[in-house]
């Protein structure tokens, strides 16, 4: 079963349906026990960095993400759900993230923001998520990003400057883009992720 962490986001319907295409049962939940025990946990993004951390803290979900990493259970952060896995964020002032990875999420140095639309990735390390879709485009909507390398495999994208568009770190993975909005390429990434569950 795949659990999608529901901590105040309005729209998780697309995400739920996209992950259901893998054949797994998908449950929206704010129940920490369910989130801890699920085969796979998806952490979607909600609003800005600080608002997202508030949502995580309100249901005390940071510990679940830490425990899952230690236990080797798969977790996937999406968009702001990726950003809050870092130690620090600079959106609307300096804020602490969950700190699974050391690094600062800062504004992209680009003439036009948000970075909105389809962009490609450049992979470093041995990637399981991008198997068969290395040349595809994915849908991004964000103005902030992490820019230093963490994890075992990385994807990089350029908008004004180069930033980290995905991380694979054993059981903990994250994408800055929205796989649930990236058409067939996104569904393939979701299938690649869930194949390991």
């Amino acid at each position: 079963m795949i659990a999608i962490l529901d901590y105040g986001s309005g729209n998780l319907r697309s995400a739920q349906r996209a992950f259901a295409t893998t054949g797994h049962d998908v449950e929206l939940t704010s129940d920490l026990d369910v989130a801890l025990k699920a085969d796979g946990l998806v952490v979607p993004g909600v609003g800005a960095f600080a608002a997202c951390m508030n949502g995580i803290n309100e249901i005390s979900a940071a510990d679940v993400i830490r425990q899952r990493k230690i236990a080797g259970k798969a977790t996937l952060g999406i968009c702001i759900g990726m950003q809050i896995l870092f130690s620090d964020g600079l959106e609307h002032g300096a804020h602490k993230g969950i700190g699974m990875w050391s690094g600062t999420v800062s504004e992209l140095d680009a003439p036009i923001l948000p970075h909105m639309g389809w962009n490609t990735v450049e992979i470093t390390g041995s990637s399981r998520l991008f198997k068969g879709i290395e040349k595809e485009s994915f849908y991004f909507v964000h103005s902030y990003a992490a820019k230093s390398s963490v994890g075992l495999a990385q994807a990089w994208t350029t908008h004004g400057e180069k930033f980290l568009s995905a991380v694979e770190d054993g059981p903990l993975c994250a994408t800055q883009f929205h796989p649930e909005k990236s058409g067939q390429a996104g569904l393939t990434l979701i299938a690649n992720w869930s194949a390991g569950l």
Partner: protein, 257 residues
């Protein structure tokens, strides 16, 4: 390796049905927005927009249901606009599965609505739709209402600057002079808005020849919206993308399908 130009198809929807005629033969029901959305997705469209032109509240409820069914089947970005008047309207559409919502007249009447929506949901969900035409204003462009029939007595460039300051995440610029003519986008208008907008800019109105799409991009558009040229089968999505790709623009060409 840069951000691709987005090609966006717009569907006018009323009482749960697509209004404009569709010249595709491989559809079971050409009036069904969900099926149309799915077809455009298969054709390689980068994003979809539903414009709700329903006159009644029951028509609007039907649109919310259409958004819900589309979001469950089509996994590309979906913007919904038309008659959005309040934070609650935005909330309802986002919860139904829209990724972005566009506002127009309601923001003209009460600009604070922009900051109210942005404060609650973030800039990235809010598209400002500007129906503009050439006129004797400071910039030479004015905002219109009622489908371009009436002047809003607001300078279009000043309005875009104000809306950007209030936090809109994207501008959808509709040329009411060019709309429906298929004589090309209003290049001067796109350049004038580009000069003041630091958010993504979607050009709309006037798409006809394939070279029109390139001209709008050269003028500074990040994305191109078209309706009739796609609906009537004058160009396939793949024709537009092949043309732009050959001309050197960055285009998404999904291979994995």
């Amino acid at each position: 390796m840069t951000l691709s130009v987005r090609i966006i198809a717009c569907l006018d929807v009323t009482d749960g049905r697509v209004v404009k005629g569709i010249n595709f033969t491989d559809l079971v029901d050409a009036g069904d927005p969900v099926e149309m959305a799915s077809l455009y997705d298969r054709e390689g469209i980068d994003e979809l927009t539903f414009l709700d032109i329903s006159a009644s509240s029951s028509g609007r409820d039907t649109t919310v249901d259409v958004v819900r069914r589309t979001a469950e089947e089509v996994f590309i970005p979906l913007t919904v606009g038309g008659g959005v008047r309040s934070v609650e309207d935005v909330n309802q559409l986002l919860r139904a599965g829209a990724d972005k919502v566009s506002i127009n007249t309601a923001a003209l009447k009460r600009p604070e609505l922009i900051s109210e929506i942005v404060d609650r949901f973030g800039s990235q969900v809010l598209v400002l739709s500007v129906d503009a035409r050439r006129a004797r204003t400071d910039s030479g462009f004015e905002v219109t209402t009622h489908g371009g029939r009436e002047s809003a007595r607001v300078d279009a460039i000043e309005w875009v600057e104000k809306a950007c300051a209030l936090g809109v995440g994207e501008i959808l610029l509709n040329s009411m002079d060019a709309d429906g003519t298929r004589a090309g986008y209003d290049i001067g208008m796109i350049s004038a808005v580009r000069a003041v907008a630091k958010v993504p800019l979607i050009a709309s109105g006037g798409a006809g020849a394939l070279s029109d799409f390139a001209a709008a991009l050269d003028a500074g558009a990040d994305a191109l919206l078209a309706a009739s040229v796609f609906h009537f089968g004058i160009h396939r999505i793949s024709d537009v993308k092949s043309y732009l790709s050959a001309a050197g623009y960055s285009i998404r060409t999904p291979n994995n399908r």
